[in-house]
């Protein structure tokens, strides 16, 4: 178990992070810190590197240069499966665009698997935690169903419960509503809003600008693999300083 991070110390600290896909330079000198309890929303055009950025934090992508520290655990460039990475993954939850629920397991088993196998909690305790989390995301009566029997919005809320079952110190959201039908976006955003209100540290990649404005403590605009501008939502949305931010916002906020 890691030592608790003092409140003033960032839970995520990225320094000079650089990543290449072959000749493509996808992340350029990323400097980003996230404080405990902070909600950071990352916006930018598709292909700007925003998903790659948060995927570096739990090692789903490796980076070539720089330094990432998550809750006191250091990730090194080209790092494969180090002990620090393993620790980070148990402490950091992630919600994916495509839900990535385990289709061969019931909703309950989706949620209890990692606590049972990674944390080593008892089956009874894992099951009661699952019940509580399902209730919290508003689908308490679906524990025995399989993912394919649920709507997209329900599946994504199960995915959220699955990540929360590990009691993460940080939650990463990679476009959590982009694969949903419009009428289901609200229920997922509600669950996330609730989580933010409870003080969870969150890094969210999203195209939902209204949600970003409402929930974020800080909005980060990324373009071409670089952080162009960041600040409180009111500042960034209402008076962006850079041309690129202005033209991006003009495009996405028009409709």
């Amino acid at each position: 178990m890691t030592t608790q991070t003092p409140a003033d110390q960032p839970i995520v600290h990225m320094q000079q992070v650089n990543k290449h896909f072959g000749s493509l330079h996808v992340l350029k000198d990323i400097e980003l810190s996230v404080a405990p309890g902070e909600v950071v929303v990352i916006i930018g055009a598709s292909g700007s590197g925003k998903s790659t950025l948060i995927r570096c934090i739990n090692g789903l992508e490796e980076f070539q240069a720089g330094h990432i520290e998550v809750d006191g655990n250091a990730l090194t460039p080209h790092g494969k499966s180090s002990k620090a990475l393993q620790t980070i993954r148990t402490e950091v939850g992630m919600v994916f665009q495509q839900f990535n629920l385990f289709p061969h397991l019931s909703v309950r088993d989706n949620i209890t698997l990692a606590p049972l196998k990674v944390r080593g909690v008892s089956r009874q305790q894992a099951a009661s935690t699952a019940e509580r989390l399902l209730e919290r995301v508003g689908i308490s009566d679906q524990a025995d169903k399989y993912p394919s029997q649920l709507s997209g919005g329900q599946q994504q809320r199960v995915a959220l419960a699955r990540a929360l079952a590990m009691e993460p110190r940080l939650m990463l959201f990679d476009e959590p509503t982009s694969a949903l039908d419009p009428e289901m976006i609200g229920e997922v955003l509600d669950a996330m809003r609730e989580l933010a209100r409870e003080g969870m540290t969150m890094m969210i990649v999203t195209h939902e600008m209204g949600f970003a404005r409402e929930v974020a403590d800080r909005v980060v605009y990324i373009h071409g693999g670089e952080i162009v501008e960041q600040g409180p939502p009111a500042t960034l949305f209402d008076s962006p300083q850079h041309d690129r931010t202005q033209s991006f916002l003009a495009r996405v906020l028009k409709h």
Binding site: V92, F96, A114, K117, A159
Partner: protein, 223 residues
Amino acid sequence: MDLTFQFNWSAAFASIPYLLPGIPYTLLISFGGLAIGFFIGIFFGLLRISPLRWLRWPAIFYIEVFRGTPILVQVLFIFYGLPQLLGGPINALVAGIAAIAINSGAYISEIVRGGVQSIERGQREASLSLGLSRTQSFRYIIWPQAFRRMIPPLGNQGIISIKDTSLFSVIGVGELVRQGQIYIATTFTALEVYFMVALMYLAITWTLSLILRQLERRGLVGQ
């Protein structure tokens, strides 16, 4: 000329008691060989998708050699060739089981590889992001899903291997075809006997197909 008069049903039925003893051999060779081939297939199939080149290459070599040569040549090599190296004869039944094992193993390796690779990348990412180790991720998430998808092609391979055992009459194992040949040598009723032999293969392969179809209907196969 009336063909129905040429097919002698009583000769066909008369052959049954002589053919039946071949069935246990056919079943033993095919299912014994397939059981071993299944483990060979898992082993080389997983090596085949290893990120490490020196693990991958032996698997590719094995698969290419035993998929790329006829099973008849393989069994002749084992039964007649290997004794020269070993200095002693090999039991024909053992040679038959070994031939099915190494031959089906090569195909099953590819079935295993295909099954594992067909699982979406997100499944692995989700399990790793929950803190599961690579081994746990494979055991609890990837393999159970891959195995379900592997059942139809495995059934296919089972049927092919059952039919392949008919070639082993050449090394003198008393399987179905061999029993038929011995019987025909004294009765000269080739038409009737080979017809019955074919029916018996059909009975075996159909039974297997039915079992597989039941598995599919119960939703144990696929997603």
